[in-house]
């Protein structure tokens, strides 16, 4: 029996999702736990349709998006209204996804919530005026 929170969809501008997923694969070998999508040229309704299709095919209950104001985030919020027990995390970064795919818990919402906190605290600034 697998100890993992299941799959997560990653959505964002241009090739953002594919880039992050390839980085996760390079670091952990668990890129297959993510389903990257790109939405270039799609209207909002088509983004929603794509997300519904990917959720159904993958069984994922988690969607990570790149930007709070992004069209993927808007579409995901609409789609996830219809999916009990699901969660959306906007503002994804690489440390967040690494935490998610390495999670040993089986609750996807708990894993996504913990990953979001990990991603939030993984930003640091070094240097500056002398």
């Amino acid at each position: 029996m697998s100890n993992a929170p299941g799959l997560a969809i990653v959505a964002g501008h241009a090739d953002f999702a594919a880039g992050l997923t390839s980085a996760v694969e390079a670091i952990t070998g668990h890129g297959d736990r993510l389903v990257p999508i790109q939405v270039r040229g799609l209207c909002g309704e088509d983004i929603q349709a794509l997300l519904r299709e990917k959720l159904k095919d993958s069984g994922a209950l988690v969607i990570f998006t790149d930007l709070q104001a992004g069209s993927c985030t808007m579409a995901a919020r609409r789609v996830l209204r219809e999916v009990p027990g699901s969660v959306l995390v906007a503002g994804v970064n690489l440390p967040m996804l690494l935490d998610f795919v390495l999670s040993s818990g089986t609750d996807p919402v708990a894993a996504a919530t913990a990953a979001a906190e990990r991603g939030r605290t993984a930003v640091s600034v070094h240097g500056g005026p002398a």
């Binding site: 501008h13 270039r40 040229g41 799609l42 209207c43 909002g44 930007l67 104001a69 808007m74 919020r77």
Partner: protein, 162 residues
């Protein structure tokens, strides 16, 4: 300042609008004109969530917009007027004095032909854009500030995506 951008974008509020245009133009408010959104608290909350706290979003029906746009044009801060389709912008050109129209995003849908990477139009939508120009509006296509503004005739003649 005034309404610095009158944009047609079927994604309404999203990254290009808030960040791509909003930051360089120092935009402090967005006027979103859409009858469906204006009648739905849930939709309004969704769009408010997408903007930073210092940016205000005003939701108006098409009929209400005509009465308010003159006031918004006299505000000291910059704003963006946003519609999700050509028909709504056409009403605002006709009754609310809009003179410059930015085609920012009309995406793929059955029956539409691709003109630019971010503009797909049906024959009726092509005619509607020409009608805007005939009403006196200057119509250009431009998704982000760093891109070139494509004049209407060039937009309508362009074909991409095979």
């Amino acid at each position: 300042m005034t309404l610095v951008l009158n944009r047609i974008d079927d994604r309404l509020i999203h990254g290009q609008v808030v960040v791509g245009w909003g930051q360089p133009l120092d935009v402090h408010f967005i006027v979103l004109v859409d009858d469906a959104v204006a009648s739905s608290e849930w939709e309004q909350e969704l769009y408010r969530m997408g903007v930073p706290p210092e940016m205000e979003v005003r939701f108006l029906s098409v009929s209400d917009a005509a009465a308010h746009l003159d006031d918004y044009r006299t505000e000291p801060r910059a704003g963006i007027l946003l519609t999700g389709d050509i028909a709504t912008m056409s009403r605002l050109v006709a009754v609310a004095g809009v003179r410059d129209v930015n085609v920012g995003g009309i995406h793929h849908r059955a029956g539409r032909v691709q003109h630019l990477r971010y503009v797909f139009l049906t024959p009726d939508e092509q005619r509607a854009l020409r009608d805007l120009a005939e009403q006196g509006a200057v119509v250009t296509a431009q998704d982000v500030p760093a891109a070139r503004a494509v004049p209407l005739e060039e937009l309508l003649a362009a074909r991409e995506g095979g």
